[in-house]
Amino acid sequence: MRINQPLVLGIHFATLFATLFVTIFAAEPLQADNQAPSQADAIKIIDEMEAIYRGDSSRADITMIVQTPQYQREMKMTSSVIGEEQSFIRILSPKKDRGIATLKLDAEMWNYFPKINKVIKVPPSMMMGSWMGSDFTNDDLVKQTTLTEEYDLSLAETATQYTITLIPKAQTVTVWGKVEYVVDRAEMVPVAQNFYDDRGELIRTLAFSDLKQFGDARVPSRLEMIPLNKKGHKTVIIYDDLVFNPTDVDPSVFTLRNLKSRF
């Protein structure tokens, strides 16, 4: 599955390098001039953070560990992404769940269950429901990319961190009253996301840690989602591998046909 061809890799490194260069260049004036940070800067940072695992396209091998007071479950999966709109996840283990897949195209989402050979569209009412029994919601997988469009952003900075506060716009349909996005200034990687309800109470936190080098990028390889209203629950995502711009990730991956394909 992974790309071993140096040539291809080289080309993609080049693209990636260009992307990174642009990113760093773009981020430069932000740190240089000492003016009050603007909403535009905040948008830029969020966009950058949201793209960190994604690149133009990427493939990741992920381990997800779901912990509850009753059980602990570990799943291995691969995930393919192109841009913001297309993503595809397939569960590899445990054996019982092998082959279960999720396809996200724009704002729509489907799950496929090989045992019953059935594709089930996730209805809007289920968007806040749990994804495969984890503490991530379906909405986390689908909507997070549009943070900058549906929220009003404000930026605060300390010596080491940016804290971007996202308040939903009046017309935005969301369960969150406020989202805090904390970013490490030196590494330009996300540190934490804190989700508040409309009464201002902290409902869940997503923490990023364990910086790891994947190709040219250094990204946090460990994500911990802790819902504070569910005692003893936690979901950990570990990036075992992350490849940017792999050759086999093309639009044909993100189709209902591929979702149903045996593998």
């Binding site: 059980y71 019982k96 769940d97 269950f113 019953i116 059935k118 089930i120």
Partner: protein, 405 residues
Amino acid sequence: MLLKLAFRNIFRQRRRSALTALSIGGGYILCALSFSLIEGSYNNLIELFTLTKTGHVQIHKDNYLDRPKLHKAIDHYETVGHQLQEFEQVKSYSFRIFAPALAYSEEGNHPAQLIGIDLDRERATTLIKDKVTSGNYISEFPDEDGYFQAMIGVSIAESLKIGLGDDLILISEGADGSVANDIFKVGAILGNRGGVEKSNVYLPLNAAQTFLALEGRVHEIVLILDNYQDAEPFAQRLRPAIPDLTISTWQQVEADFYKTMQSDKQGNHVTLGIILFIVFIGVLNTVLMSVLERTKEFGVLKAIGSRPSIIMSLVTLETTLLATISVLVALLIALPVMYWMTYVGFALPEPIDMGGIAISAIRGEMSVFVFVIPFLLLISFALLISIPPGIRAAKISPTQAMRSH
């Protein structure tokens, strides 16, 4: 002497005595038959209800009954089963697993209550086998292609447009948080549209355990005793034996049903009380009349030296005697009627649906309770009612009495 007098007095005014006897006897028959019907129909209902749905006693983990959660499961259920066998009253028991599920077919989907049952035990414990309207009671083994069979309620079969042998897709949440999904074959269709099981899907216990990732665990142990009335005392005895689990009687499991039934019963008792009251007003009237009519007589009795207590005893004795005789005769009449009601009963033209259980006939009950309670009620009321006229008779002054006519 007093007894003889009382007897003679009763038979002296035959017509009046006969009318009084008729009203007391009629009251008894009415009362006993109503009692029989109330008790009988409720007993039948409870029998049917417990055998269809709840069993007599249920065992759960923690507060599963109030707040069912997939993971609140009993893991040593086989051991508990062996413990239950040591109690003589336990006729049978069965293990169950519950989960909400979504049933799919090519035609659509339908919400379903998934119930995993120990097939052999469940058949011996409840009436589930009698509910099979088409197909056969399923087996616990998968077919040659590896598919387990399922029994489905009528509503599911109809809305999914599936019949015997067709695929039934079930999706639910596993106890490990995974998405439980699998295909089953329809092996039987259960019940009717009004039945409690119309939206149920029954799976073999082992298949349900695997499906829901609940291997080696069940949610409920349901047991049937020799008599449903033993549920509470039995639960009391069982609690110390299995202290780590929650034991509930059918009255607790179906508290709403039980409360409705109790209040309904009380309503019936009030109606009966009113009937009895009317009967006794009539009796009071006759006794009072007979005392007033015999004022002169009592005057003479007093004049020749009878103590007031003797006169009062005479009046009460007369009434009680009359009541006893009439009740005994009424009992003889009531017996065959009650026998017929108990063993034949009134067939209802349309079965009544009560809590999802179809009642097709109203039957009475024959028990000591049904005979004795109205008996005691009537005799003691007769006694009570004869006291005021008795006092009146005892207080009569001889001179005034002999002057009256």
